[in-house]
Amino acid sequence: MTTKRTGIVTLFIHLVVVAMFLQAAYAAENDNESIGDDIVVVVSRLNPVRDLTRTQVEDIFLGRTQQFPNGQRAVPIDQAERSTIRERFNEEVLARTSAQVRSHWSRILFTGRGQPPRSVTSSEEVLRVLATQVQGIGYIERRLVDDSVVVVFE
């Protein structure tokens, strides 16, 4: 009995230590590039949607709806896992930590009710996808907004 308890408790102590190392590495990764620029939510210029509320953006990115308010299909485009812009979007627009967003999606994913948004590697990639996908909605730095997209939430 004593051996067993020591075994499990020892294992947990090791796990916490490993996790703390990884957390330190994760935090360092995110401190590297801090961007002072605003994050804006954009759709293709060909999409008739011109203005969304924070709740509407939240509903689309958290999978609560698959439609824009006008009834058209909405396809959210996320940015790379653990990227600074994604962390900031989660915190500033969705008002949730990345862990909370992950927890939310694991609930939907593991009940077979949906898949998290597909993610692309950069803001430039978001623009490229939106150029061909009128149903798409993404977020980028304000300085990267060009003629091909319209800002629907800032």
Partner: protein
């Protein structure tokens, strides 16, 4: 640290650093997984604490620290060839009724969108009886270490092999979803095979921003397995008087209806949640009900919570066979039958309340540690959430300490 622990550590280090929700953007296939590693200790050493009726043993008299009541691993394969059709296969390995840690198909179904708001699924489907029923095994998706035990153990059937039809109506800022399902289920429990040939479920769910409302009605025709049949056979061997007792208590083939309502408010920084449920098995074991209220606050990566849960219902005593109507030589046999019935009654009505204090620590976006302390108060003539109780003993108060690590990938 021994070899086994080292293996677990290495495997977990890989998982912890794995890309979350691994999926190649162009593929129609996706592979994801989740898991929990847990350990629990009970201050009550004359009985085993079990959070779910599937376990044959738990922390307490069988184990000082039990590593198995919360530990599990799941993998899910998803396929979505187009916008309308998708399929999901989920296999979960956890400790089963026979004490062995082994995998089982948790669900396997095909989903088809008839219209954007009308969806049909067929195969093995998770039942949405309670607010978090369908994802209660995904520790990472829950604010608590485990769902409130008094309420969540009332429904032992969690998946059904059949079909469901759901209709979603979107209104300004939210949605209403109604789901009707029909199917059957076979669940192996410690007491035997729990077989339900007909399960009907109707679930209403309203989601509006941080608010979720949930209401469900379900009814199932259940066969409780061999151990129960032996008892009824025993009573019936005593002729008409015994048959009366067995007819009073044997719920085989009778409808057992359940209703449940739930409310959740989660704006992000804090949450409150409450659920209430009541049901019976259509026999003299009686009605049983449970409710809980829970709240938590998020301080960055740390989220402490508190839960009060209470189970009630069932009866204190049973209306068994009257030994005085039979020759004295039969009295010991009749007493044994009546005692078995009494133990069933005491195990049926979970008259117990639990105050839980715990915290979740999101160490990484896909990894959370949790710790929880439960203070249980079990009432007289109820076994509460305990089994393997020492003869003549009844648990009254106990503390359970649990730690887990949840991950998703």
């Amino acid at each position: 640290m021994n070899k086994c622990q080292a293996t677990v550590l290495i495997l977990l280090s890989v998982i912890l650093n794995a890309p979350i929700f691994a999926q190649s953007t162009n593929s129609i296939w996706s592979l994801n997984g989740y898991g929990t590693l847990g350990a629990a200790h009970s201050s009550e050493n004359k009985a085993d604490y079990i959070p779910s009726p599937v376990f044959p043993k738990g922390p307490g008299s069988s184990y000082n620290w039990d590593a198995m009541i919360d530990t599990r691993a799941g993998v899910q394969l998803g396929v979505q060839p187009n916008d309308k059709l998708s399929g999901v296969l989920q296999v979960v390995a956890e400790k089963r009724f026979d004490g062995k840690f082994k995998p089982r198909v948790e669900w396997a179904n095909l989903h088809y969108a008839l219209t954007p708001s009308l969806h049909v699924r067929a195969g093995r489907i998770a039942l949405g009886t309670y607010m978090v029923s369908d994802h209660r095994k995904v520790g990472h998706s829950l604010p608590w270490l485990r769902p409130p035990v008094e309420l969540y153990r009332l429904i032992a059937i969690t998946s059904s092999d059949g079909v469901d039809l759901s209709y979603q109506h979107n209104f300004t800022g939210g949605s209403y979803t109604a789901t009707v399902s029909y199917g059957s289920s076979k669940a192996k429990e410690f007491v035997g095979l729990l077989e339900a040939s007909n399960i009907w479920t109707m679930v209403h769910r309203v989601e509006r921003g941080p608010l979720t409302l949930h209401a469900s009605y379900s009814s199932a025709k259940v066969d409780y397995g061999r151990q129960f049949h032996l008892l009824w056979d025993g009573f019936e061997a005593f002729g008409p008087a015994g048959e009366v007792v067995s007819a009073r208590y044997d719920a085989t083939g009778r409808w057992s209806p359940f209703i449940a309502v739930g409310f959740q408010y989660d704006p992000g920084d804090w949450f409150v949640m409450t659920e209430w449920s009541e049901g019976d098995v259509g026999s003299d074991f009686g009605n049983r009900a449970a409710w809980y209220v829970s709240g938590g606050y998020r301080l960055g990566a740390i989220a402490p919570y508190v839960t009060f849960a209470r189970g009630s219902g069932g009866h204190r005593s049973v209306n068994g066979l009257d030994a005085t109507a039979f020759p004295p030589s039969l009295t010991p046999a009749i007493n044994t039958l009546n005692e078995s019935l009494q133990v069933m009654q005491e195990g049926y009505g979970v008259r117990q309340q639990t105050v839980s204090l715990g915290a979740r620590w999101d160490v990484l976006p896909n990894v959370a540690f949790k710790g929880q302390v439960d203070h249980l108060h079990t009432r007289k003539q109820s076994l509460g959430t305990f089994i393997n109780v020492a003869p003549g003993y009844r648990p009254r108060e106990a503390n359970i300490i649990s730690i887990t690590m949840d991950f998703v990938f």
